[in-house]
Amino acid sequence: MSVQMTKGVAAAPIAATPSPSAKSRRSVFIRRPFFTAALLVAVAYVLAAIFAPHVAPFDPVKQDFNVMMKAPSVVHWMGTDSYGQDILSRVIFGARYALIIGIFSVMIGAVGGLVIGLAAGLSGGWAEWGLMRLIDAILALPSLILAVAFIAILGQGVDKVVIAVGLSMIGPFARTVRSDVMQVRVQLFIEAAQLMSISYLRVVVRHVLPNVIFPLAVQVTIRVSEAILVSSSLSFLGIGVTPPTPDWGLMISEGRDFVSFAPWMSAMPGFALALLLIALSIVGDGVREEFDPKLGKES
């Protein structure tokens, strides 16, 4: 399908567009309406997170026992929870925590995966074999269970969740980095650089790394949603972020006990989380299909 689309774009009159870069950038958004819509949703979340104090109608942790568990109304658009806190404000501030935890933990995972993956891909021999078994061992545990184990050692809190989720994501990153390194390692330009007696470190930094960083960046955008899901799962289990932090997972968990008479307590933060995850996964798919060199060759 995408092949036909690119042909269509190429056949379009070039005179109508001022510059080739502007044309291709615009065409991505027109070609992928779902991607554009999802991107707009994601951007809206980011804006809400940045400007949370200006957007939120109430203080997210202000308790008001006169308005406990009120259904959604004109004053409280998403209702209030069992402490009389405004759910809309908590959802908006929750976007901050979700995005901060998601982005920072993915960064930790990507850096850790880059180091192990590079080492495994470049070393060869027994060292490579050993590192690969280490990666296999990390991958034998699903990220949530691994994060639970790290939380058991580290304790609870926002910073601990970031570290635990980040460490638990090293495995998949390491695997993709290693396979990219394997592909680059045998390329002609690496051999040429080595024949020109450029130092090994310089070959790695100047010639291998740039070819690994880009696919890694694509992976990062795809895995942000996974990090957000794992971190909110930890909070939902009651072992992640501690109350009264306005974290979505925590809010869903608190509302669980009241689901029979105040379902909005769980549903509102839940839909906020679900919408963000769906938007991010559409954006991730789009980014992968546009930029992933492996997929690009096939289509």
């Binding site: 289990l237 072992i239 869903i252 989380l273 996964s281 559409i282």
Partner: protein, 316 residues
């Protein structure tokens, strides 16, 4: 082929070894001195030292690991103070069967729903049905399972009162009541897999249906249902088994969340309460069980390829 299989098994043993060292290290990294905790606030240096050597904590790391590994294989996993039980009984005999029952129920359900849906969207490619199932598949893979569970409880258990809100009845003791209690948790857990299997079946089947042997089958005048369901679907078994093996981790972490939503006494609940109660031995047991399960199933997947694909049976 036998040589290859033995190589796989050896490799798996190494991975198991690495995992066991890591989860033993978990105990060492855990905050708090176990001897201080056992002795309480007042103790003499002598009693501290004697208990330390009694527990073998003055030995080198590798010796301690070997001791632990032997005990672990024999089923001496220590005692849980919160559950007031042997951890082996608590984790392996009580919690693990609950998790495995939920996981296998959901997986079977997901295959029974996902494969036909995928086949239908492959046959009706580029129709409204196909587009609809694509949207469902996308939503299904991205939707957080614990939210889905709460929504299902709210709608089916609270509003319609069709199903119990939570609780667990073992299907091995009371089959129909067990299944009845398993429907909502199973639905929650299988949604992701239905979506994934639908996508995978569709993509693979579309490719398979373009193969020459499908055209040959049609040319022989075989009925359409036979071409699709016998010649076509048989060939999606291998990618399906591969992906399901790799996605077992997702299934296991899904059970952790689903158990919490529906209050099922499985490994997930065990892990959560162990973290809150700082029972590192229980966390360790949970981590080991999950890893062994994942590694074991993926070994079985690897070893099953020659049975699924006759082309791989020739040994080279």
């Amino acid at each position: 082929m036998l040589f290859k299989a033995l190589g796989k098994i050896a490799q798996t043993c190494v991975v198991l070894f690495v995992v066991s060292v890591a989860s033993f290290g978990l105990l060492k990294l855990a905050p708090g001195d176990p001897i201080q905790i056992m002795l309480g606030s007042e103790y003499s240096q002598e009693s501290y030292d004697s208990l330390r050597s009694e527990l073998g904590l003055d030995q080198p790391f590798l010796v301690q690991y070997a001791d632990w590994a032997i005990q672990f294989v024999q089923g001496n996993w220590g005692t849980s103070y919160v559950a007031r039980a042997e951890i082996f009984t608590y984790a392996f005999k009580e919690a693990l069967p609950v998790t495995l029952t939920l996981a296998s129920f959901s997986l079977v359900f997901a295959i029974l729903v996902g494969v036909p849906l995928g086949v239908l969207s492959a046959i009706k490619k580029d129709t409204i049905f196909d587009a609809g199932s694509a949207v469902l598949a996308l939503t299904g893979t991205a939707f957080p399972s614990f939210l889905l569970g709460i929504l299902l409880i709210w709608f089916f258990a609270v509003k319609l009162q069709l199903f119990p809100v939570m609780g667990y009845v073992s299907p091995w003791e009371n089959f129909w009541l067990g299944i009845y209690h398993m429907i909502l948790p199973g639905l929650t857990l299988s949604t992701y897999f239905i979506a994934m299997i639908t996508r995978l079946t569709r993509a693979t089947l579309i490719e398979v249906l373009e193969q020459p042997y499908i055209a040959a089958a049609r040319a022989r005048g075989e009925p359409n249902w036979r071409v699709v369901w016998v010649h076509g679907v048989r060939n999606i078994a291998m990618p399906l088994v591969t992906i399901l093996g790799l996605q077992l981790g997702v299934l296991l972490q899904g059970t952790v969340l689903t158990e919490t939503v529906f209050n099922l006494p499985g490994v997930g609940q065990m892990l959560t309460s162990a973290v809150l109660g700082r029972e590192y031995l229980v966390v360790q047991a949970g981590v080991m069980m999950t890893a062994v399960l994942f590694i074991g199933v993926n070994l079985l997947v690897d070893l099953s390829y020659p049975f699924l694909d006759p082309r791989l049976r020739t040994s080279k």
